[in-house]
């Protein structure tokens, strides 16, 4: 191994004196600086993860009984939330019976579109214990109150609809309310409760 320092010339070319490099950062200070930078990176990572978690996960806020919630330029109010083992057929046919161990939960909702928002959706979800969420199911019988059709809700005119959910019986007594799930941003989604 050759000694440290300026190397001999390459071929016939004389080696010039190399420029004196600036003194390197003392090692202890370098480690200290690394600690500071690592802390800054850690703060960024933590901040990002907290922000991303709030953005990607749906969080809910429970409203007072009977209070209205808003989503997509419309105001929603939960009128009733009832459970039943079977759904009556308004057309006089046989009722639809829930599967064994399950029950129907019917949410009757009134919505008023305040602005013509392109992203308006009238559907609601059902929030249960531990963050369990059920989407509305398709019913096989004719109902007295129509189900939600977003395109048929006119601006400014109160419209009633019902959403029917199939829920395991063991959770039916622990329901939180009808959720206006909104995944378009980091905000909380409102959970409607029927009037007391």
């Amino acid at each position: 191994m050759s000694a440290a320092g300026p190397a001999p010339a390459l071929g016939t070319v004389a080696t010039p004196p190399s420029p004196v490099p600036p003194p390197p950062l003392p090692r202890r200070r370098a480690w200290l600086l690394l600690g500071v930078v690592a802390l800054v990176v850690l703060v960024y990572l933590t901040g990002f993860s907290v922000w991303a978690h709030t953005y990607t996960s749906t969080r809910y806020t429970q409203l007072a009984p009977g209070a209205a919630g808003t989503r997509g330029g419309a105001e929603f109010r939960l009128l009733t939330l009832t459970r039943s083992a079977e759904l009556a057929d308004a057309g006089g046919g046989e009722p639809q019976v829930a599967d064994a161990g399950a029950t129907f939960v019917v949410a009757e909702v009134e919505v008023v579109r305040q602005v013509a928002d392109e992203g308006f959706l009238c559907g609601v979800d059902l929030l249960g214990p531990g963050g369990r969420v059920w989407s509305a199911t398709t019913v096989e019988v004719q109902r007295p109150v129509p189900s939600c059709r977003s395109t048929e809700v006119a601006v400014g005119r109160p419209t009633r609809f019902e959403s029917v959910f199939l829920v395991p019986e063991r959770y039916a007594d622990q329901l939180v309310g009808a959720a206006l799930t909104d995944n378009s941003g980091p905000g909380r989604s409102a959970v409607l409760r029927p009037p007391a």
Partner: protein, 664 residues
């Protein structure tokens, strides 16, 4: 006080094997030593660069709310931040290794890159960006931006992603997009010219920034334009004539019992699967990285302008590997006395506009590459081997990290993505950069030793007085052959090691036995009730019949936790890497507290029934390392014949819509 530069080992006697061992020892030991010496400084630079690139990415995502074009502009900063850190780390390590002292004064760049960081960045960022683009890292980063935008706006959202806007521009307004690409190119050349005239370093950085934007624009938008052009071309009669000629040739060869399409497919497959990975990943990437890293240290080489001026070929100009081009010659060539007039001036400007880019970015890199390749086969083999070992360790670490974290849906990877990314690169990227610097220094040492052994550089055509005679020629040929074999052995070991390290699972495979629930993050998945038939029915009527066999499998998705359990995709794995995709789509979506059962149907070759394994998972438009459930269907080589016999002539009515039940 500065620590002394690392000692320089010389070649040891012992032939090519001795050289190989020396090179390996230098590369490994010196890389480790310089890494440890500069660890805090290198980590500080890398972390700052990484943080800068992350912030640029977040800014770009947020800016996308206002304009996708603004997002693209800000996204360009992502590369500038990261590459600036790489350049600075290479410079720092190069100083520690005393690389500057190994480059003769007249061969050094002489453009101020040693004195000024901004100058260094301005002249070296462009080839780095080109390299990033060539290795697909620009596309990869752009995918990240589009992914985050897609998640932010939703797949069906009305706000367009960068890719959506560029796609729209390419398909609806290709002329405008082409104009924009040309406009940005011209803008960069103008700012570049201003930078050269004024010498302002801020303009140099601006050039790098515009270049970054230009590359993004070309890669993301230009590709669409090319696809449009291809579609247009395929509609022309010329394309049909070409296809006719191809078919005629294929027909003629068919008479000679040569299946041209099959031969071409086999050749393409061989090149793609065997040759390309070795040539590109194992050999080219490390060598090109080394060549580009060499630019940091001022080994400015012959430029196109100088070639024109001298009217000589590169080989004529450079009799030995240790001779570098002179940057000041290039500068002088660009200052050709009195200002040109009229047509001459237009020609000069046009030449500068079109060839200047080649001159500035690609030619120095190309000649730097030639320089590296002249370091000798044994050195290149050892460098490729050490580089591959580092790459392999990185791959194994990534696999271990994935297995430690387990498979998750995209939400998890979006939240923890930056942590995983940093954990995957921070331990290894500084080591890789140290290796590049050490390897370049070793190159210079080899040139130095070779020059010293060969004596003074003589004019072209003058005999060096090298050993002559038949015996000497044989010895030289034998030595070259041994060197070639040594290098090939290194490349082979590197390729095998790298391949092995890349074979880690792409998914978190949750294996279970038939009829036994597999526990997943959202609940349980049970696969059972395997049926074999030759016909399928719906509502009691036969709808499908196959000359092979239908395999119908019941999959039960149980949402035992608070989340719904969703299984949207499946495939059937058979012996010999054969994979069957579903005959019908079958999706199970169980709400909390429910289990949903649905039948998955596959049409299979009766001869390949044994060892069928079903794989089911939740398909996501954007996904990371996620869980997949694998269940062996219980058909083995011993009982496959019995299954075949039992299935012959059978009709099965699969449950396509699914059955929902409450979990007990």
């Amino acid at each position: 006080m500065a620590e002394p530069a690392l000692p320089v080992p010389s070649r040891r006697p012992g032939g090519e094997l001795g050289e190989l061992l020396t090179d390996l020892r230098v590369l490994v030991v010196d890389t480790g030593r310089v890494w440890w010496r500069l660890l805090p400084q290198v980590l500080v630079l890398y972390l700052l660069g990484w943080l800068g690139s992350q912030l640029a990415l977040r800014l770009a995502v947020w800016a996308g709310d206002a304009s996708a074009w603004l997002a693209l502009v800000l996204f360009a900063l992502n590369f500038v931040a990261l590459l600036a850190a790489l350049v600075l780390i290479l410079r720092l390590v190069g100083r520690e290794l005393g690389i500057a002292s190994l480059i003769p004064a007249e061969e050094s760049a002489g453009d101020g890159r040693d004195e000024s960081i901004s100058r260094l960045l301005a002249v070296t960022l462009l080839p780095f960006l080109g390299l990033y683009a060539a290795f697909g890292q620009v596309t990869e980063a752009a995918d990240t931006l589009v992914t985050e935008q897609t998640v932010r706006y939703g797949v069906l959202g009305s706000t367009e992603t960068v890719l959506g806007v560029l796609n729209d521009a390419a398909t609806r307004h290709p002329g405008r997009l082409l104009l924009l690409v040309v406009g940005v190119y011209v803008l960069r050349r103008v700012v570049d010219a201003l930078h050269e005239r004024t010498g302002r370093q801020a303009l140099g950085l601006l050039v790098a920034f515009i270049e970054s934007f230009f590359i993004l624009l070309v890669i993301l938008g230009g590709i669409r334009l090319l696809q449009q052009a291809r579609v247009w071309l395929e509609d022309r009669a010329l394309w049909g004539w070409a296809a006719g000629v191809r078919d005629a040739v294929a027909g003629a060869l068919a008479r000679l019992a040569v299946d041209l399409p099959a031969v071409l497919a086999a050749v393409a497959s061989f090149l793609e699967d065997q040759v390309w990975p070795v040539a590109w990943e194992v050999v080219s990437q490390p060598v090109i990285w080394l060549a580009v890293a060499a630019l940091i240290y001022g080994s400015q080489v012959l430029s196109l302008a100088e070639l024109w001026r001298r009217g000589q070929t590169y080989a004529e100009r450079i009799p030995g590997a240790g001779v570098f081009a002179r940057h000041r010659d290039k500068i002088a060539a660009r200052r050709p006395g009195p200002p040109p007039q009229g047509i001459r001036r237009v020609a000069t400007e046009a030449r500068e506009a079109f060839l200047g880019d080649l001159d500035d970015k690609y030619l120095p890199t190309f000649h730097s590459l030639r320089l590296i390749l002249r370091a000798g086969l044994v050195f290149l083999g050892s460098f490729v081997l050490v580089y591959a070992v580092l790459d392999s360790v990185t791959n194994y670490a990534e696999t271990a990290l994935h297995q430690l974290l387990g498979g998750h849906t995209v939400d998890f990877w979006l939240v923890w993505g930056p942590w995983v990314d940093l954990a995957g690169v921070l331990p290894f990227e500084p080591l890789r950069l140290c290796l590049l610097a050490v390897a370049f220094r070793r190159c210079l040492e080899l040139f130095q030793q070779r020059s010293a052994a060969a004596g003074p550089v003589l004019p072209v055509g003058v005999d060096r007085g090298a050993p002559s005679g038949r015996g000497a020629g044989v010895r030289v040929r034998r030595s070259r052959l041994v060197a070639l074999l040594t290098a090939l052995a290194c490349v082979t070991v590197a390729a095998a090691g790298l391949r092995a390290s890349e074979s880690g699972p792409e998914h978190d495979l949750v294996r279970a036995r038939l009829g036994v629930p597999a526990t997943t993050q959202d609940g349980e998945v049970t696969v059972d009730d395997v049926r074999i038939a030759t016909s399928l029915a719906r509502d009691g009527s036969v709808t499908d019949t196959t000359p092979g066999l239908f395999v119908v499998v019941r999959v039960r998705a149980a949402a035992t936790g608070p989340a719904e359990q969703v299984l949207t995709d499946s495939r059937l794995l058979a012996d010999g890497d054969r994979v069957y995709t579903p005959y019908d789509t079958a999706t199970a979506r169980a709400a909390p507290g429910f289990v949903e059962s649905v039948d998955h149907v596959f049409e299979v070759d009766p001869g390949g029934l044994s060892d069928l394994t079903l794989e089911v998972w939740r398909d996501e438009i954007v996904h990371g390392y996620q869980q997949r459930v694998q269940v062996h269907l219980g058909i083995t080589a011993a009982n496959a014949a019995a299954w075949r016999t039992a299935g012959a002539g059978q009709v099965v009515e699969p449950d396509r819509n699914g059955t929902t039940q409450v979990l007990p």
